[in-house]
Symmetry: C2
Subunit: 200 residues, 2 copies
């Protein structure tokens, strides 16, 4: 089995949501594990001078249409939460807290949070909402609530975002496999071909 592939995403990224539903199955078909690394696009966008897709004239309208089209194709009852974009700090902190204890549970929490945002339309920027989703996943509410305010977890997330930028990540989703970067949900077929063939 090869090295794990690293899956970078922002909890507020709708294409990241679509990608999160597929990345583990894709990697698994090619005999790979995955490491999930949520990051904060706001910090990344400062590097590239860009902004959320949906805020950009023309591109924003297209993106809304493309997301709806992709979701229909996949049979997902997709919605863009309101407000959008939203702050994903609480979700990302909760993830890293849990990842260090139980990576599989952290992925389950991430999937539940993304589903709550992009199917339920809920505002997961609110810590209370993150705690509610965590409770539904059977997590210790007191420990999770403390983690969201824990300086060590705050530092951890900051380091992870810095690490993502240092690794060249500038969007969500973004996958690095054997050192090779793949940006965007629409590059997933190419990512899988790369893993299958060993590259070209």
């Amino acid at each position: 089995m090869g090295e794990p592939v690293t899956f970078y995403f922002d909890f507020s990224s709708p294409y990241g949501f679509l990608a999160a539903r597929e990345i583990d199955a894709l990697a698994g078909r090619q005999g790979r594990e995955t490491i999930w690394k949520p990051m904060l696009l706001g910090a990344v966008f400062k590097q590239t001078g860009t902004q959320p897709l949906t805020n950009i004239p023309l591109k924003g309208d297209y993106t809304r249409r493309d997301l709806a089209r992709e979701a229909r194709r996949l049979g997902i009852d997709f919605r863009l939460p309101d407000p959008f974009p939203f702050a994903s700090i609480a979700a990302a902190r909760a993830f890293y807290w849990l990842w260090d204890r139980d990576p599989a549970a952290a992925k389950d929490l991430a999937r539940a949070l993304l589903e709550r945002a992009f199917v339920g339309g809920d505002d997961i920027s609110k810590p209370a909402k993150v705690l509610a989703v965590g409770a539904a996943q059977g997590l210790d509410g007191g420990a999770l609530e403390a983690a969201l305010q824990d300086v060590a977890i705050k530092d951890r997330l900051r380091r992870e975002v810095e690490g993502a930028v240092a690794a060249g990540v500038f969007g969500s989703p973004f996958v690095i496999a054997d050192g090779e970067p793949f940006w965007g949900y629409d590059r997933f077929p190419r990512l899988e071909a790369w893993l299958e063939t060993g590259g070209w």
Copy 2:
């Protein structure tokens, strides 16, 4: 046979080059003709406040790598011309002059210009280079040289660029099929599925 699909591109767009090599075959497989509409990304980017991909930190490095990777996959001896990005006004004017006379010849000219830029590495921003490529395609050199300075052709290109922006075009390549927009070379598989199925 359905309505033709409209293929928007900028002669200075490397992903537009990759797309131009495939769009007619893709459309033809689904029983469609194509209308080619070169435009000027500089004018379009003013709408969206963006800039050429290769100028953007992180994203520029990724784009260079992704282009090289895509070209290897396709067996193309790709190079990014120097200077890049370059002005594509002369190429676009030549195209529209010829399109009104012979659309098939205009596509051949466009393909030859793109090949000259992205395989030959030549600077096709220069009118002399456009004339040389035109001569190699058997075009009337005097008529083409006059066309590059013709006010009517200049106005035509300006109107086409305005029309592209009005149609929602914000990047290259960009295809509109039966009113449905598809941005990017990496959306070509989805474009073909849409044409094949009638949409979803």
